[in-house]
């Protein structure tokens, strides 16, 4: 009997991994914007990576903090050294799920609202988040977008008192991730 259970378990695992479809994104765009009357911080990272499992809804997004590029060199230097401390915390990532993945039909073109739930790590601090997003399926291609606001203080990014009028604690993050079906070579 034990043997039967083990064999059926193995068969189930083999089948589920056979049908599990993973989508990957390598050139994901993540844009951060913080605006005050005195200073606009406008950074773009177009090398974010992501893996999406269309069966389980598991979602991972990862980027290198130094990959954020700014129009001003000075701002980029301060962003990395004084605020994000990218030497100590080189990555930011999200690990979680699309909670309502069952409502997304990957075989049918359309726009599907998604609920993103999981842990966001920025500046070495991990917080639970629950945000809305959208998956657009078009001709077999998958594009995921989401917009959210985060508080710098919540992730222990310190703004000096004298800069508080220039740097808003509230930062708008927008993501645009274009996925391709992953095929092992």
């Amino acid at each position: 009997m034990k043997k039967v259970i083990v064999i059926s378990g193995l068969v189930f695992l083999a089948c589920s991994s056979l049908f599990a479809q993973k989508y990957i994104c390598k050139d994901g765009n993540v844009h951060l914007l913080s605006k005050t009357a005195m200073l606009t911080i406008d950074g773009k990272n177009n090398k974010a990576s992501s893996i999406l499992d269309s069966k389980t809804g598991d979602l991972v997004v990862q980027l290198q903090v130094r990959g954020f590029k700014f129009p001003e060199a000075l701002l980029e230097e301060h962003f990395n050294e004084n605020y994000m401390q990218s030497g100590t915390f080189p990555k930011a990532d999200f690990k979680g799920k699309i909670a309502n993945i069952a409502t997304v039909n990957f075989a049918k073109d359309g726009e599907y609202p998604i609920d993103i739930v999981g842990k966001l790590t920025i500046h070495g601090e991990t917080r639970d988040i629950k945000k809305k997003g959208k998956l657009v399926i078009k001709g077999g291609k998958v594009e995921g977008t989401s917009a959210m606001n985060i508080s710098l203080a919540n992730y222990k990014v310190k703004i000096e008192e004298s800069y508080k009028d220039r740097i808003d604690d509230n930062v708008a993050l927008t993501m645009d991730l274009k996925y391709e079906l992953y095929q092992a070579k």
């Binding site: 090398k47 990576s49 990959g67 060199a73 980029e76 030497g87 080189p90 070579k185």
Partner: protein, 144 residues
Amino acid sequence: MNKYLKIFLIVFGVGLTLGLCGVYYVFHMPHRNLADEKPSIVTSAKGLFDDFSKDETIGNKKYGNKAIQVSGKVVDIKVTDKDATIVLADETSGVTCSFDSATVVDHKAEFQKIKVGYATSVRGQCDGLDMIQGVMLSRSVLVQ
């Protein structure tokens, strides 16, 4: 006008102009130019990836934010009007080098010559290890 007041105004005016120029320069100083920078470390794409995969923290300390020059075989190249990406050594366990639009525009002919399978050298700022793309270099330049 009082002679001293005149001198004071001239000195003040010159000082203010210089100060404003200084502030303007600091805010608009150019981005890091890897083409003019001597590489901190010269290595192979595989060697760079191996160092990071052995210990990412040590990899970041050794290479992070530095100008790294890597050589390797091109496994993927993507050039658009906006930017370019060259992957060296291996698609998932190699080095992904990204190039800014200005670099692509200035060296269009050189980018057109690069094909998958060719050996090439790239210098770029090391941003860290990515879960899919391997070691990431940004603001890259082609090394002749």
